[in-house]
């Protein structure tokens, strides 16, 4: 008889960033529930008619954003700088995300520049060891400066 143990919340989040580092978006999504919520708080793309926000579900908005990021920054990588968790499935991680731009990303034209940007991610992990919510924070102004963009909008 085989026994499958449920990974700890920290192990789940570590596996998520391992998959991200390997550019394995399918694995990132597999670590989440089918209906997992996704919030990239600073993500606002201002168009003429509407604002597109990084709010929705992992399997729709999240997957598209991760795939597009990896396409625009083909060497994108991450390093967990700090991680903490409680016993209720809450996890917070400070993560350095780095990459070199190879294609435009949203309104950010490609100047071939490299960035290292501190992020905070908040996760909710359920009892089955799956991510049911991801919330991300970073400073887009810092990101813009490093990629050579100086317009706020």
């Amino acid at each position: 008889m085989s026994v499958t143990s449920i990974p700890s919340a920290v192990e789940v989040v570590t596996a998520f960033f391992d998959a991200y580092r390997e550019h394995d978006v399918e694995r990132m999504v597999e670590l989440c529930t089918d209906n997992a919520d996704f919030h990239y708080v600073p993500f606002e793309l201002w168009g003429k008619q509407r604002v597109i926000r990084g709010d929705g579900k992992v399997r729709t908005i999240g997957k598209v954003i991760w795939t597009t990021l990896i396409d625009s920054f083909p060497d994108i990588t991450n390093k967990i700088m700090y991680i903490t968790a409680d016993n209720e499935g809450n996890v917070a991680a400070e993560v350095m995300i780095s990459g070199t731009q190879a294609k435009p990303f949203g309104t950010m034209g490609n100047q071939g520049l490299h960035y290292d940007l501190p992020h905070v991610f908040l996760f909710r992990i359920n009892r089955e060891g799956l991510i049911e919510e991801i919330t991300g924070y970073w400073d887009t102004a810092d990101w813009y400066r490093q990629l050579g963009r100086l317009e706020v909008d």
């Binding site: 708080v41 600073p42 606002e44 903490t84 968790a85 409680d86 016993n87 209720e88 809450n90 917070a92 400070e94 501190p118 905070v120 908040l122 919330t135 924070y137 970073w138 400073d139 887009t140 102004a141 810092d142 990101w143 813009y144 400066r145 963009r149 100086l150 317009e151 706020v152 909008d153």
Partner: protein, 143 residues
């Protein structure tokens, strides 16, 4: 007070603009890192400077805790929403009397009921956008 109560009290005092009360929960030489402002130093200098400028620039500031948990290392992790109308310059951003609403994450490490490490993250670009800043290389120029 346990770590959860310390964190709740800290943000409740921010909400009532009680800077001294909030800092009374913090050891004086606590390292404060405000990542988007690239500011780091002890609570009595960097912490007080940030809170006093914030309260002065946004006299109607409100602070709401959206999510709060305490990690097993006694770090309180808080997702908060701050909102206010600008009434004075703020860290070089000229006052145009605009409303801002910003979500932030704060890490407060608590030891024996006292905060002894603070780190905060938010998107400064979103703050610039809300306050009418047009260029990152000329934060004080708004048109």
């Amino acid at each position: 007070m346990n770590s959860m109560d310390v964190a709740r009290t800290f943000f409740a005092r921010m909400d009532t603009h009680d800077t001294s009360g909030a800092l009374a929960l913090v050891a004086p030489h606590t390292n404060v890192a405000l990542v988007p402002l690239n500011l780091q130093g002890d609570a009595e200098n960097v912490g007080r400077q940030y809170f006093e400028q914030l309260m002065s620039a946004f006299p109607d500031l409100s602070v709401r805790v959206r999510r709060l948990f305490v990690g097993n290392d006694n770090t309180a992790v808080a997702e908060i929403a701050i909102e206010g109308t600008q009434a004075a310059d703020f860290f070089g951003i000229i006052n145009q009397e605009k409303l801002m609403d910003i979500d932030q994450v704060w890490f407060l490490h608590v030891n024996d009921g006292v905060i002894d490490r603070i780190k905060a993250y938010w998107c400064q670009n979103r703050l610039y956008r809300r306050l009418g800043v047009k260029r990152l290389d000329h934060v004080t120029i708004t048109a």
